[in-house]
């Protein structure tokens, strides 16, 4: 009790600042002590991976603020982009391939939303199932390869992931743009306010007359759309898409970015700013560990510990409410 009181007083308003401070400290330490961290090549890698993580974090944030979660976001990210590349390789025109890829992502998002909102399956289970379904279906029926490369004819869209504007990599600009749009959406539009209302108290939002079910579908569609964008940015940046990423720890990194930044899993709290600071910290940490040649398994240990610590701190700062918590929600 004492502990909770103290940490609450210290952190409740400042979690964002604390995380930002740690990120900056870490960045400075790595720059000084790690050879090659500050090099142009590495910074480019850093920025690119941070951008992808951050963009996916924005999509995840829409769900988490509404007291949901999207475990299928990485599967949609990888498989929709992989299918787009595969179609392009098979001779489908680039615009059509992109459209079909997006339709795959959209379908997954809509089904997620319908399952959660209308069938009333807890988001955790609906999206867990969807992650497996999207990966399995795409590998079985759409994309026979593990790694799909970008066709030579697709250089027209290579700028998305690989281009620069005034020396700034386009992925980070896209992250900034999506973050800005996401922020504006959450703060200044009615659907955005409804997402907070649903995350705070679903029953109250429903009784107030908020369109709760359409809003949940909208959340899932937005998340899937953002996943597709992130997928295309990755694909054009590294000229390929590795479908194995679905089975990697990436989904935990995305959740980590959101929770660490200070968006409570109990819903209704936080915003895009939290995603940005969370992204910075995790991006810098992961990149530093890779340069230090920390074993992949040990990296997972560290990541797991940070995720658990972030969730524990979250549950101290934003305790779950017995009254409004629903069985099975995250």
């Amino acid at each position: 009790m004492f502990w909770g009181g103290v940490s609450r007083a210290l952190l409740v308003r400042d979690q964002e600042k604390v995380v930002l401070l740690i990120a900056i400290t870490l960045f400075c330490c790595f720059s000084i002590f790690l050879n090659g961290f500050i090099s142009a090549g590495n910074l480019l890698t850093l920025v690119r991976s941070v951008s992808i993580l951050g963009i996916l974090g924005v999509g995840m944030a829409f769900l988490v603020i509404g007291r949901g979660i999207d475990l299928s976001i990485v599967a949609i990210y990888a498989m929709s982009a992989a299918w787009t590349l595969h179609l392009a390789n098979a001779g489908v025109s680039i615009p059509l391939a992109m459209l079909l890829g997006y339709l795959l992502a959209l379908a997954a998002g809509v089904i997620n939303g319908v399952l959660i909102a209308y069938v009333e399956v807890p988001a955790l289970f609906a999206t867990l199932g969807m992650a497996s379904l999207v990966y399995g279906f795409a590998r079985y029926a759409l994309v026979p390869l593990v790694v799909v490369y970008m066709p030579a004819g697709a250089s027209g869209i290579a700028w998305v992931g690989g281009g620069f504007v005034f020396g700034v990599p386009i992925p980070i600009l896209l992250f900034a743009l999506i973050a800005l749009l996401g922020h504006a959406f959450l703060r200044f539009t009615k659907p955005g306010r409804f997402i907070y209302a649903i995350g705070d108290n679903f029953a109250a939002a429903r009784i107030s007359g908020a369109p709760v079910r359409p809003i949940i579908v909208l959340q899932c569609v937005l998340s899937a759309t953002i996943a597709y964008l992130a997928g295309m940015i990755t694909a054009t940046a590294v000229s390929s898409m590795d479908t194995n990423v679905t089975n990697s720890s990436m989904i935990y990194d995305v959740i980590l970015v959101v929770v660490l930044g200070g968006i409570g899993l109990s819903g209704g709290r936080g915003g895009i700013r939290n995603v940005i600071v969370g992204t910075l910290l995790i991006g810098i940490l992961l990149n530093g560990m890779t340069i230090m040649n920390v074993q992949y398994t040990l990296q997972n240990v560290i990541r797991g510990l940070i995720l658990l610590a972030a969730i524990v701190i979250d549950s101290i700062l934003n305790p779950r409410d017995e009254l409004t918590a629903q069985q099975g929600d995250i």
Binding site: Y196, D200, N201, A204, R206, S208
Partner: protein, 503 residues
């Protein structure tokens, strides 16, 4: 002939601070063996804090507790229980998935636990208390009243010397209340001491031997129950006389408002076995009070009308708004047509606790069809907040204050404001003053009257008779899922209304 009484329990100069804010200041309190002692006070007066200290749930910041002459300190509720102090909670603390018997013996099971033996023992215990509860039933299948019986039985089984009841009657029907009071009498004869917290003053007057009144964390007065009247209690509670303001409006003081056009008619509405073939009409420009005991289907009927009830359970019937049939599947459709429901469960489904007063009210606005477009407007939000907090006299530090930090009465006002911005034509108040402090009750009652004067169709659902009698221009009585009687204020008295509700 007075025997000097040594108190069973004594609290000396007990104080409690929460983060520097004093919730209790230097309270002296004593409890005699075999007495029923009511603790009364407005919300936030410190009643709950006092009993939490007694039941070991929170430690006092200062002061001493003496039990049977010896000083005691409780490290937790378990230790208080070992000292013979048991608490019967408002929200019950039973395990829903276990049976009644298993709950009664929870934590006390023998190593080789024979279920049959437990059932037989539990049956005997329940019978000795005259509780009609099946020990093999799971707790989740029981209603609130029976759950409370199980809690009481558990306290009795643990041979508690002191049993604390926190708002025991809030969810009971009058029949069940009667049973509870009989039981309290029996416990008193067995020399068990009882602390009784309630908002219902009549009950406190009826059942208790002594009464202690708290106000703003201070001890105001303790005395024999016989020395108090409803009026003196209220005066001590609020420091002024409010009874008249609250319930003084007798039928002869103000003529009942006349009905204008018929807004709603309900024909043969049914849902599971909670609402059974009920029919009634509601008119604009007057307050229709629906009285009924808990479980009589009032809330469920209201929830069907306002689209809140899930459709899966709907069994048929006809709801007509202005003569055309409507069947709302979601509250959104109802809100769109100007039918709003103000819930009895503020925290569970009323307000948004992470949001400010202004944001809460604004959610009501943007959920209705009052505001077209997709963008939100800070200016509209502020303007709404300013005008409505003023209109309803919401006392918050500022409109950025979070709703969770307000008192029950102010929270209720915010929930009401959130519905009123939707410009309803029919507004249903479900237990509008439950858990609301006395001062705010008067204001909410005035508001309800003003809404009817403005031509709205107003329904007030309440299980508190004086509230129904003083507010309504027309009284419907609900029993077993059906409206069984309609009374005008002239013919309605406590007796006639209660008679219709029970028999």
């Amino acid at each position: 002939m007075t025997v000097p009484v040594t108190p069973l329990l004594e609290m000396k100069k007990v104080a409690k601070e929460y983060r520097g804010v004093a919730a209790l200041k230097d309270i002296d309190f004593d409890l005699r063996r075999g007495e029923v002692h009511a603790i009364l006070g407005e919300n936030g007066a410190g009643k709950s804090t006092l009993v939490k200290i007694l039941s070991g749930a929170v430690p006092p910041s200062a002061g001493e507790i003496h039990l049977e002459g010896r000083r005691v300190q409780f490290a937790g509720p378990a230790q208080a229980r070992r000292h013979g102090i048991a608490m019967v909670y408002q929200e019950t603390s039973l395990v829903p998935a276990l049976t009644v018997a298993q709950n009664l013996y929870l934590g006390d099971e023998k190593f080789f636990n024979r279920l049959r033996g437990t059932y037989i023992e539990a049956q005997q215990l329940l019978q000795s208390l005259n509780f009609p509860v099946d020990p093999t039933a799971t707790v989740q299948s029981l209603g609130t009243a029976k759950r409370q019986m199980v809690e009481i039985a558990r306290a009795v089984r643990l041979k508690a010397k002191i049993i604390i009841f926190d708002e025991p009657t809030a969810t009971l029907t009058s029949e069940e209340k009667h049973h509870l009071f009989l039981l309290i009498d029996r416990l008193r004869e067995d020399q068990v001491s009882i602390i009784f917290i309630s908002h219902a003053l009549e009950e406190a007057l009826e059942i208790s031997d002594r009464i202690t009144i708290l106000r703003d964390g201070l001890h105001v007065i303790t005395g024999d129950a016989k020395a108090f009247s409803r009026d003196t209690i209220v005066r001590h509670m609020v420091g002024r006389s409010l009874t008249h303001e609250l319930y003084g409006r007798a039928a002869d003081e103000r003529a009942a408002r006349l009905p204008r056009e018929k807004v709603l008619s309900v024909q043969n509405l049914s849902m599971q076995n909670v609402v059974r073939n009920t029919s009634f009409s509601i008119f604009a420009g007057q307050v229709t009070g629906i009285f009924g005991l808990v479980g009589s289907g009032r809330t469920e009927t209201a929830k069907i009308i306002a689209g809140v009830a899930k459709r899966d359970f709907f069994h048929g019937g006809d709801v007509r708004l202005d003569g055309s049939a409507v069947r709302y599947r979601t509250p959104r459709q109802a809100v769109g047509d100007g039918v709003v429901y103000v819930t009895e469960d503020r925290k569970g489904e009323g307000f948004f606790e992470t949001m400010s007063v202004a944001e809460n009210i604004y959610i009501g606005q943007i959920s209705s069809r009052q505001s077209p477009g997709i963008a939100t407007s800070m200016r509209t939000m502020r303007a709404l907040a300013t005008s409505w907090t003023k209109k309803l006299n919401v006392k918050a530090l500022n409109s950025d204050a979070r709703v969770i930090e307000l008192s029950g009465g102010n929270q209720q006002k915010v929930v009401i404001a959130k519905s009123l911005v939707q410009k309803p034509r029919l507004i249903i108040f479900d237990e509008p003053t439950r858990g609301v402090d006395v001062g705010a009750i008067a204001e909410i009652h005035q508001l309800i009257g003003a809404l009817a004067d403005d031509g709205l169709a107003v329904i007030v659902i309440s299980s508190y008779l004086p509230e129904i009698l003083s507010l309504s221009d027309r009284i419907l009585v609900s029993r077993q899922g059906r409206i069984v009687a309609e009374l005008s204020p002239d013919e309605a008295t406590s007796a006639t209304v209660m008679f219709a509700a029970v028999y």
